[in-house]
Amino acid sequence: MAPLPELSSVLRSRTAATPRRKLSKLEKKEIRWGLFFISPWLIGFLLFYLLPMLASFGFSLYDFNPAVPDQARFVGFANWQRALFQDAEVWLSLRRTLHFAAISLPISLLFALFLAVLLNSEHVLGKSIYRTLFYMPTMIPLVATVLIWNGVLNEQTGWINVIIERLTGIRATGTQGLRWLADPNLVYYAYTMFGLWGVGNAMIIFLAGLQGVPSELYEAAQIDGASWFQRLIFITIPLITPVIFYQLVLGVIGSLQYFLAPFVLNGGTGFPEGMTRFFMVYFYKQSFTFFSMGYGATLAWLMLIIAMIITIVLFGTSRFWVFYAGEER
């Protein structure tokens, strides 16, 4: 199996490295220059990531308002106890966040994949124009996107309802109609729709994934008489599962921090019926409206822990469905 020369070269390099010799002057110089170049990141990591993260945990043990820092009081794990066992809103807002993610993530990923497959087809004419135009709304500032959709989803005058009414005859406008942003059953779908305007990045990344699928595989399948759909399901999708996986992880982490749309539309009141008081919105309210920053730090750490758990679980499931080329089949 393993050719001998390779093994011996590994052994040689190991024996060469084992005795802890002193670094030569040149090597030391290289390390110094290397550290110089990466120093912006090293300093930034310490100042803006590591220390604040640890301090955040420290803050979670205090009852603390930044307006009156002298009155900060050490309360031990009282904030944690409150977040985990007493404050029902923590779990409710977390459940809403996950509920929304469970609706919006599959829809947006499938839509991105659909567009990528469509625009990867040799039969679509003017592909680059389509690609540009489907990407374009991703460039619109998110606040503007939300405001434009807020208008188009307006239950009385918005075009979505007007078009539905014209085409189907169902009475969609008015108080008995489709109240996209006011009906608790519809609001997550409405929010998902704004999200589709940000489909561009996922679409481009899927497109790159599709272009990386070796064409021999398709040719072989075609000779075997596989239909277009079979080729999609048995070749294309398995080969781009790494890309899907990566998008899924980023999407879940992003959903946990979903904040802008509910904040712009209703100032974080949770309208309708608290449905849009997501975890990040609740964190913002506690930290920057009530300025109870000890509790806010607790919620932030809780978010980190949940994000880590979800990421670990996703990575755990990945070996069952994510296909990495080069592994044994």
């Binding site: 090597e27 390390i31 290397g34 550290l35 110089f36 990466i38 912006p40 990141w41 090293l42 300093i43 930034g44 100042l47 803006f48 990531y49 604040p52 993260m53 301090a55 955040s56 567009l115 469509l118 625009l119 087809s121 039969h123 679509v124 690609r131 540009t132 374009m136 709304p137 460039m139 619109i140 500032p141 998110l142 606040v143 503007a144 996107t145 434009i148 959709w149 208008g151 188009v152 009385q156 005058t157 979505i160 007007v162 589709l196 305007w197 481009i204 990344i205 790159a208 994934g209 990566y246 982490i253 802008l260 904040f263 930290s287 920057f288 920053m293 932030a300 980190l304 994000a307 990421t311």
Partner: protein
């Protein structure tokens, strides 16, 4: 199944042509649905205040037509007469019959029409309120928002590109103990939820008096971000070392090599990072929201637009106009630089 059997009987070129037409029209249909809100935004932005709420108004920007007759304004209706619809001004309304004037031929004077005028539809004339953009521009104090946003985007883009290039060069070329671990740590900061570092950072910035200024938003940009470093490192790794080695033999310092060889050779990658950061800054909301709260004169476009929406929530047309104004610059830059930009998206996200 039936369809595929039938198409299979056709000659190959016809089949290809049919698939082409079908798929291209499918793409066109999806694109149309996808961009409907954009068309809504554009048409609503130039409507009059009264048109938006009025039932029976057309979807395009319009004004109800009136006609001046003998010094008075009369409303113009669509009146069915002898199987054709004519646009006539309602001169004297009545219960069973009304008097109308023909704007095309006012000299003929008013004439009677049998029917209920309340059943008639108004006549609309195309009327584009370009002035709404000016109104939105002035109400929101757009020049100020624009200046703030441009300054923020420009300064942080400079900082982000410079620092990311330095760090990426360090990671790409130098043997540093523990480099791989450091690199992994850097990549993992990309998915770290920002909230977890926010409160202590905010507290420190508050203590040193930076809250209410742009500094908490600008300074961190000079310490490099993971995704940017990743993109540039990938690019630097693809540059052959020959030139650097030659320069080294000539006695050039690493900083000199970085400045006069690496940076000029990396123009496309640096441009991609600059574009990313520019758009990111243009879109940034949460940071300015918390650090600039209570200082409307310092707001960037995103936060200013939100405040505007809260104050003028009834003026749908002005809100749409302001939203469109805020999107003009990013979209324009995107159209000019899309190739570099989209390639950058692929490198940062796909090759990990």
């Amino acid at each position: 199944m039936v369809l595929s059997r039938r198409t299979a009987a056709l000659p190959k070129t016809t089949r290809v042509a049919l698939t082409r037409i079908a798929l291209t029209s499918l793409a066109l249909a999806v694109l149309t649905l996808f961009l409907i809100p954009m068309v809504y935004g554009m048409t609503t932005a130039v409507k009059t205040d009264s048109q938006i709420a009025k039932a029976g108004a057309p979807w395009w920007p319009a004004r109800e037509r009136t006609f001046e007759y003998e010094g008075k304004e009369y409303d113009v209706y669509l009146v069915p007469i002898d199987g054709t619809i004519r646009e006539l001004a309602l001169y004297r309304p009545g219960r069973q019959s009304s008097w109308f004037v023909d704007p095309e031929n006012p000299a003929a004077g008013p004439f009677e029409w049998q029917g209920q005028w309340r059943q008639l539809q108004r006549s609309w004339r195309l009327d584009i309120q370009w002035g709404n953009f000016t109104r939105a521009w002035n109400t929101i104090n757009f020049p100020n928002l624009l200046r703030n946003t441009l300054m923020y985007a420009a300064i942080t883009t400079f900082g982000a590109v410079l620092s990311a290039a330095l760090v990426a060069y360090g990671f790409a070329r130098f043997r540093i103990p523990g480099k791989n671990i450091l690199f992994m740590v850097m990549l993992s900061t990309v998915i770290l939820p920002g909230a977890v570092t926010l409160i202590p950072t905010y507290f420190v910035f508050l203590q040193i008096g930076w809250v209410g200024t742009w500094l908490p938003l600008i300074v961190p940009a000079f310490f490099s971000w993971g995704t940017n470093v990743f993109l540039l490192r990938q690019f630097f790794l693809s540059i052959p070392r020959d030139l650097e080695e030659a320069a080294q033999i000539d006695g050039a310092s690493p900083l000199r090599i970085f400045y006069s060889i690496i940076l000029p050779m990396s123009r496309p990658a640096l441009t991609a990072v600059a574009l990313f950061h520019f758009f990111w800054a243009w879109n940034d909301f949460f940071g300015p929201l918390i650090y600039l709260a209570g200082h409307p004169d310092k707001f960037p476009i995103t936060v200013g637009l939100t405040a505007f929406n809260n104050l003028y929530s009834q003026s749908t047309n002005l809100i749409q106009a302001a939203s469109l104004i805020s999107a003009v610059i990013p979209i324009a830059v995107f159209f000019f630089a899309q190739r570099i930009f989209l390639e950058g998206v692929v490198i940062t996200n796909f090759e990990k």
